[in-house]
């Protein structure tokens, strides 16, 4: 079995498999484009959405720039509310902490609401290995749990599956026929029947955290299915799991950022449920857990803090960059090979986990910039992708570069050629080289390295017989008068 959170196949194989699966394109197209246009419409509804973005970004920046201070305040306030705070340096520590809490509670069944962080640390595997039954209660998470898969999208983990595929999965796993044309409400009803008793059985509920508000020690969870409230409110023990960067200073900052999260994630002005939990049940309260635990995980985040990639910690996991990304649109999330997918995954996976095992991801982008425009906290993702490429090409802090010598040699030659105008006669060189493969002025097929990938989908134009710089003398001596002939028809507003 593949190591959790790491790719089991080389990148090009993952991509080939994704591109060969026609149902993937359909499933992705429907959902991502709905989210994409939903974001645009709900941003417009804000009127001055740029100011809203700046405000959300500023709130996130303050938290990340003063992370130690904010986390300390958060921890103090959680403790003051009667909760327990646990600090975990890495995945193993976090899993051990959770397992320990579950054992103390004699837990046999654990329910979970959606949490990317627990995917990051493979918590389910750790708990199941200890004999604890783990039940995902977010519909998408439950689907991929049944299928034995990892999420392919940050907010819609089963986005890669069509309705028919989900119906087939339910039939197989539940041992009763579910018609292939079952509607989404019908499928949801099946999930509800299956999950209802589980909510009541659970000894421990584990949730993620969308925001942790430092000033009152409150965690906030954004969901659309209501499962989050069952998970955090019904069991005796609630464990909330957060990446250290998820802290935010004040309720005002929470509101400013939440507003951008729901709009950017699903195109909702507000999600169906926004829960805020400030510690365990109090004396006068009828509901709520007896124990509240907050696990704060580092797992590589503090390493990013001091680098040029600090900005990636502003991310609020809305997945707007995925929905805007033409590459994600073609290959889906699983081809990224890690827990975090799309443009933000291409930045986070090499940084948080293993540079070499994810080094292709920063190249899986045309640098079109759609992700940067979509990001509600204005993270410059293309800049970071290029910076990761730079580290691969040139090495960091005296380290050896990761890029193969052939590639480095190509760019050294290119630089030499382009620096020396006499050598910079691409057209003549290229034309001579490609002429044997050409039909007219086009090369339909080039059995040459590098170019063969190009000609699989396109003709390649032969470099011009007479490039522009050779035409300049003649062009410069053309009479201008003739060209100005129609000047009368132009409107000149200013000079």
């Amino acid at each position: 079995m593949a190591e959790h959170g790491y790719p089991s196949q080389p990148f090009h194989v993952r991509v080939r498999e994704a591109l060969a699966k026609p149902s993937l394109g359909q499933a992705l197209d429907r959902a991502t484009q709905r989210f994409y246009f939903g974001r645009i419409l709900t941003w417009k509804e804000l009127g001055d959405f740029q100011t809203a973005r700046h405000t959300a970004r500023a709130a996130r920046r303050r938290a990340v720039d003063h992370l130690d201070e904010y986390l300390t305040r958060l921890a103090e306030n959680v403790a003051a509310n009667g909760g327990h705070v646990h600090w975990a340096a890495d995945a193993a520590e976090a899993n051990a902490i959770v397992l320990d809490i579950c054992r103390q509670a004699n837990a046999r069944v654990v329910t979970k609401s959606k949490s990317m962080l627990t995917e990051e640390i493979a918590l389910n595997d750790a708990l199941e290995a200890a004999g604890i039954t783990v039940v995902e209660t977010d519909l998408g998470e439950w689907i991929i749990q049944l299928a034995g898969e990892t999420p392919s999208h940050i907010i819609a983990p089963a986005i890669h599956k069509t309705k028919a595929e989900v119906a087939e999965l339910f039939s197989r796993v539940l041992g009763r026929p579910v018609p292939a044309d079952a509607s989404i409400p019908e499928l949801t009803l099946i999930a509800r029947e299956q999950l209802r008793q589980r909510f009541l059985d659970a000894d421990v509920g584990i949730s993620g955290v969308n925001f942790a508000i430092a000033e009152t020690g409150t965690v906030s969870i954004v969901t659309n299915e209501g499962n989050g409230r069952y998970v955090t409110g019904l069991p005796r023990v609630h464990i909330a799991m957060m990446g250290a960067e998820k802290v935010i200073g004040t309720w005002e900052e929470w509101a400013a950022t939440l507003k951008m999260l729901t709009r950017s994630a699903t195109g909702q002005l507000i999600s169906s449920y926004v829960s805020t939990v400030s510690g365990p049940r109090r004396a006068a309260e009828a509901d709520g857990p007896e124990e509240f635990h907050l696990v704060i995980l580092d797992n590589g985040r503090s390493r990013i803090l001091g680098t040029t990639f600090r900005e990636s910690l502003l991310c609020i996991r809305c997945a707007a960059c995925l929905n805007a990304c033409p590459v994600y649109h073609e290959i889906g999330g699983h081809a990224y090979g890690g827990v975090y997918t799309g443009p933000i995954g291409a930045v986070l996976s090499p940084l948080l986990f293993d540079f070499d095992r994810f080094k292709e991801l920063p190249h899986a982008s045309s640098l079109c910039g759609a992700c940067r425009d979509a990001c509600p906290v204005e993270i410059d993702l293309p800049r970071m992708l290029v910076e990761l490429r730079r580290i691969e090409a040139e090495g960091e802090d005296g380290e050896r570069p990761h890029a193969p010598w052939t590639e480095r040699a190509i760019f050294a030659l290119y630089r030499l050629g382009a620096q020396t105008p006499a050598l910079y006669n691409l057209a003549a060189w290229g034309r001579a080289l490609l002429k044997p493969f050409a039909k007219g002025e086009q090369v339909p097929d080039a059995p040459l390295p590098v170019l063969d990938g190009w000609t699989r989908y396109r003709d390649f134009p032969l470099p011009a017989a007479e490039p522009f710089h050779a035409r300049w003398e003649r062009l410069a001596s053309e009479p201008v008068g003739d060209m100005k002939r129609r000047d009368a028809g132009t409107q000149r507003k200013k000079d």
Partner: protein, 244 residues
């Protein structure tokens, strides 16, 4: 007004006619055009591949070649982006070169923004018979904010009918080395673009970057489809008296 033409290596070597068209449009509007000899590539291929030390050397060369120019105009949106947005950051460890890069960045324009924003011209006196769609080149659109300028210029071309291209802002899959490094993904993106071009139905697609022209044009030809992609400059240079 006098501008230096920054031709860009793809235009120079593969689409020299676009360079000629650019010069003719500018001259027709009374702009004097110079062509600084010694110009080569701005370094974008190396930059995007992560070879920033190599890029710095090319950027220094570029700055020396163009430093004396009043304004720099290029028919390539992504090359304008390179000079305007990336050069200053490239020299973040070197304040002297950074100042020179920043000074140059301020005077560098993509063709359509130069025409509309600097010259204040929307009607260049061009004629083009038929329906065209417009594809937004990514860097021009998202890094330079060039969205309305080309459309305004096209709206004043006599005989031209601009039709909608669905998701005209969706990348065509070029991305420089991306197209050869990730051919499968790039090819799939190109396929989507071509499907939308066909759905739009206009026989001509207009754009503002040689990369898109090479990619989309090559794809259309490979499939033998009856659509052509041309540079905005080619449409703007076209009038009754011109050849073609």
């Amino acid at each position: 007004m006098r501008v230096a033409l920054f031709i860009s290596c793809l235009t120079d070597n593969f689409f020299p006619q676009v360079g000629e068209d650019t010069v003719r449009v500018l001259r027709r509007l009374g702009v004097e055009v110079t062509f600084p000899r010694g110009q080569t590539c701005c370094g974008q291929p190396a930059f995007n591949s992560g070879f920033h030390r190599d890029t710095q050397e090319l950027a220094r060369h570029f700055i020396q070649v163009f430093e004396g120019s009043e304004a720099i105009v290029t028919p390539a949106g992504s090359c304008a982006t390179m000079v305007r947005k990336e050069y200053p950051a490239l020299f973040h460890h070197d304040p002297r070169w950074q100042r020179r890069a920043a000074a140059l960045a301020e005077r560098t324009y993509e063709l359509s923004e130069f025409l509309v924003d600097v010259l204040g011209v929307e009607d260049v006196g061009a004629t083009w018979q038929g329906r065209v769609s417009y594809h937004d080149a990514c860097h021009a659109l998202r890094s330079l904010g060039v969205r309305e300028q080309p459309r305004r210029l096209l709206s004043h071309v006599r005989g031209l009918e601009l039709v909608d291209l669905t998701r005209s802002d969706w990348c065509c899959g070029f991305g420089g080395s991306f197209a050869v490094r990730m051919p499968g993904i790039s090819g799939a993106m190109l396929q989507e673009k071509i499907t939308r071009i066909a759905a739009a139905g206009a026989p001509t697609v207009v754009t503002t970057d040689a990369g898109c022209i090479m990619n989309i044009g090559g794809g259309l030809r490979k499939l033998g489809l009856p659509f052509q992609i041309v540079h905005l400059a080619t449409v703007l240079a076209h009038h009754e008296a011109s050849h073609g």
